[in-house]
């Protein structure tokens, strides 16, 4: 028992480890409650269903590190799906339909940016507004009906797999993850995101173009939702204006579970991926165990609170940020013990 406590204590300062532990615990629990949980088929299932949260989660991670917030992602998801479904059902080629999804997502992202940066409205209020605008637009486009009559190849992307084994949605999510991981950790832009989240005034005085950064961040968020819409619409095989309700909650839970602080300045892509997996595992596990689906709402709510508490525990005493040492001539930078 003591060695476990010591082990846990040494994890202070590494938020991703805590998230990993939670995921591991959940997987153990669920493997006990259902013998269908620990199968390859189910694993593929879980990763496929978490792919939309991952795609959007990565972009939103950056937004939240910079102390922003995007509550509109669920509604923008819906309007992007119906826009592309509408075009496809009226005969447009698949590529155009996909492009439409991306553009609609981007448009709403830029709308968010315009209101937040241009009109200086706080992100919570601004994206709440967009949330409603987008949802309304989705209903208007479909006249509140679910669009059907989509071309036969519509569902290929969402249900197919690369090499027959890896679902396309997972491949796309992986690509997006790698992109944002590189952006956040290896570029000046990424470092500036952390800086602005840590102290916006100081960053501005140091010469960082803060407004431009926010425009880029919210645009990327919108664009990622457009991409997720392509994947999701394809999987569902229809254009349903009601989808995505609560999606923003899933995204934020994933991001916060992954160690991103709501106060900004901290967060990791790896954490968000683990967080997205936890959210998906929770749903999947509870399903397989035959639990009433409404308990999933309760579970997710509990998960969010637990995530914040874990973050509080593991973030005290953090004294060093260990960055990947780029050259060999440095002295040891492993002064990472807290």
């Amino acid at each position: 028992m003591r060695s476990i406590r010591a082990f846990v204590a040494r994890q202070r300062g590494n938020p991703a480890i805590a998230t990993l532990m939670v995921l591991a615990i959940l997987m153990v629990l669920f493997s006990l409650t259902s013998n269908r949980f620990l199968t390859w088929e189910n694993f593929v299932n879980v990763t496929r269903s978490s792919s939309t949260v991952m795609i959007v989660g990565c972009a939103v991670t950056l937004v939240m590190i910079a102390r922003g917030l995007d509550l509109s992602v669920g509604s923008v998801l819906a309007v992007s799906v119906v826009a592309s479904a509408k075009l496809a059902s009226e005969g447009a080629p698949l590529e155009i339909a996909y492009l439409a999804a991306l553009l609609v997502g981007l448009a709403f992202g830029l709308l968010n940016a315009a209101v937040i940066v241009g009109l200086r409205v706080t992100p919570i209020i601004a994206t709440l507004g967009t949330l409603n605008i987008a949802r309304g637009a989705a209903y208007l486009i479909t006249s509140s009906a679910i669009l059907v009559g989509l071309p036969p190849n519509w569902a290929d992307l969402g249900t197919g797999s690369m090499f027959g084994a890896i679902p396309y949605p997972v491949v796309i999510a992986a690509a997006v993850t790698v992109f944002f991981w590189i952006l956040l950790n290896y570029t000046v832009f990424g470092r500036n995101v952390y800086a602005v989240g840590g102290n916006e005034d100081a960053a501005r005085i140091a010469g960082v173009n803060v407004p431009r950064m926010y425009v880029i961040l919210y645009a990327m968020s919108g664009l990622s939702v457009g991409l997720a819409a392509i994947v999701l619409g394809s999987r569902l095989g229809s254009g349903d204006p009601n989808i995505g309700i609560g999606f923003e909650f899933d995204v934020i839970v994933a991001v916060v579970l992954g160690g991103t602080s709501l106060a900004g300045g901290e967060g990791r892509i790896s954490g968000t991926i683990l967080g997205a997996l936890i959210v998906a595992v929770l749903s999947n596990g509870l399903n397989l165990a035959g639990v009433d689906p409404f308990w999933q709402y309760v579970a997710k709510g509990v998960a969010l609170v637990v995530a914040v508490v874990i973050d509080r525990i593991t973030s005290t005493d953090r004294e060093t940020i260990v960055t990947r040492a780029p050259t060999a001539e440095l002295e040891s930078t492993t002064e990472g013990e807290s």
């Binding site: 290896y186 000046v188 470092r191 500036n192 952390y194 800086a195 840590g198 102290n199 005034d201 100081a202 960053a203 501005r204 005085i205 140091a206 010469g207 960082v208 173009n209 300045g265 901290e266 953090r318 004294e319 060093t320 940020i321 260990v322 960055t323 040492a325 780029p326 050259t327 440095l330 002295e331 930078t333 002064e335 990472g336």
Partner: protein, 520 residues
């Protein structure tokens, strides 16, 4: 610096305490207090006392232990060993509540007032006068006004929003609140850091009133001239121990410094033997929202000091030059060519660099590492491939050059001392290799040892050919560093003095007295 004119102790007894039952015990005493943090013995067998009615000054370098002792007494940190006694009775302080109950009040560097509430609301917060469940406005107002009056701030509108008051008035509100909580001993940590000279004089008057009514004031400051002016007793902390504890009779600054750092610091300021080159920056009659028709110039190799009272527009001049406030009229020339400094970006591109006076809110990014803080401005200029290696190289070079005490480039800046944080901010500017350095209060909240290092650093930068424009509220620092002094008052430049002027002359210009000779 000459002695401030400290008024005679006021004999008014408004708000005074009952006569002590036992006159021989100190109000507060600590014995054998020790505290160890990982890697450092912050307090090592400390024993000291605080007597009724005295002004006891604690000084010492950052990390010497005075802040930790204050935290112990405030109930924020539990000591490993030792006892605390109040009026001879041993007590236990485990939480801030205990400390408050014992009559200890703390006025720390971070102002703990609620800016959005009024003076009255702040003073009675937590113990409001009530009628049933309702807030009794009249009674609360009377109580609050009584305490503000007792410290000489009765003129402040009790309904004024505290966030709108000056720093000195906000501090008075905190002191009034402490009094209303029946504080017997009031601890002030760096209380004068954000005040100008006139406000410091008023604070000293308040302190004299407090001690005249039987309370004790423990005053922590880095400003030696203030210590020698106000203290009855001085205790010097060094490396977690008490290096000296003396009555303030003829103690010199040299003595204090020696006790603090254990070595003779012969001259805190480097000699002014720099040669000034051609003009690097020239402002011709610039005006902004806060300053009017200011003209100045700064040459390479020169340190120009901007003097004046708080609010006179000195910082605003720097901010205008750095592109932070729009310039409404006039022009600025950099190296002889007109420059449109309409944004921070443009100022940076023209070779200007700026260190803000408020490093906590506008300077350091406390959650990030030393490296990130040092290279953020440099990196914002798109350095190209291999930038991370370059960033690390620049970081190590600057840490070495500026002698920034840190365990490594990855250490969180929040954990550095004030002086090292300040050096990090200067380092951030240096990474840009600026031609013109704008420094606003570069040694605020920095201990004597680090201050001296920063002075030498500024001197070296000037010698390397930079033009430095310096704003500081400490006259000694202004006169010690500057080759030329420009004095501001109410947004205008009212005069220019040579670097060897007398402090009296600077103050006279700053306050608007026509002749400087008449002052005492």
């Amino acid at each position: 610096m000459g002695e401030r004119a400290v008024p005679e102790p006021v004999t008014s007894t408004s708000g005074s305490l009952d006569a002590p039952a036992n006159g021989s015990e100190p109000l507060l005493s600590v014995a054998g207090i020790s505290k160890r943090f990982p890697g450092v013995q912050a307090l090592d067998d400390i024993s000291t006392s605080v007597e009724r009615g005295e002004v006891h000054c604690w000084i010492g370098e950052n990390g010497a232990g005075k802040s930790t002792l204050i935290k112990v007494l405030a109930g924020l940190v539990a000591p490993d060993a030792g006892t605390i006694s109040v009026e001879g009775q041993p007590v236990s302080i485990r939480t801030p509540h205990d400390s408050l109950q014992l009559g200890l009040a703390f006025i720390l560097q971070e102002l703990t007032v609620v800016g959005s509430l009024s003076v009255v609301e702040n003073i009675v917060l937590g113990r409001e006068s009530r009628r049933g469940p309702f807030f009794d406005r009249a009674a609360s107002r009377t109580r609050a006004a009584k305490f503000m009056e007792s410290i000489g701030f009765g003129h402040v509108n009790p309904l004024a929003r505290v966030g709108d008051l000056s720093k000195s008035e906000q501090q008075a509100v905190m002191i009034a609140r402490a009094l209303s909580l029946n504080a017997r001993a009031i601890f002030m940590d760096e209380a004068t850091a954000a005040l100008d000279d006139a406000e410091v004089v008023r604070l000293f008057a308040v302190i004299r009133r407090l001690t005249a009514s039987g309370r004790a004031v423990v005053f922590v400051s880095h400003r030696l001239e203030e210590i020698t002016a106000i203290a009855d007793r001085v205790t010097v902390f060094k490396d977690g121990r008490i290096a000296a504890s003396v009555h303030n009779h003829g103690v010199s600054h040299g003595d204090l410094i020696r006790w603090m750092v254990g070595r003779e610091i012969s001259a805190a300021f480097p000699p002014k033997t720099r040669e000034a080159g051609e003009i690097a920056l020239e402002a011709r009659s610039i005006s902004t929202r806060r300053i009017t028709k200011v003209s100045l110039h700064a040459r390479r190799g020169e340190i120009v000091g901007l003097g004046g009272l708080v609010g006179s527009g000195r910082s605003e001049v720097l901010r205008a030059l750095y592109g932070m406030d729009p310039i409404r009229e006039g022009e600025v020339l950099v190296n002889g060519a007109p420059a449109k400094l309409t944004s921070i970006r443009r100022a940076l591109d023209s070779g200007l660099a700026f260190v803000s006076e408020d490093r906590r809110s506008e300077g350091i990014i406390s959650k990030r590492s030393v490296e990130e803080n040092l290279t953020i401005a440099w990196a914002a200029r798109s350095p190209g491939r291999g930038w991370r290696r370059e960033s690390r190289r620049i970081t190590l070079r600057l840490i070495e050059e500026l002698q920034i005490r840190t365990r490594g480039p990855g250490q969180l800046v929040a954990t550095l001392s004030g002086g090292n944080q300040q050096k990090t901010l200067v380092g951030r500017c240096l990474a840009m290799e600026p031609g013109i350095l704008l420094l606003d209060e570069p040694t605020r909240g920095v201990d004597v040892g680090a201050k001296t290092e920063i002075y030498h650093l500024i001197d070296q930068l000037a010698r390397r050919g930079m033009a430095v424009i310096l704003v500081t509220s400490e006259l000694t620092e202004l006169l010690g560093l500057a080759d030329r002094i420009l004095v501001m008052r109410e947004g205008c430049l009212v005069g220019s003095l040579p670097g060897d002027a007398r402090e009296i002359d600077v103050l006279a210009l700053a306050m608007g007295h026509q002749d400087g000779e008449g002052a005492a």
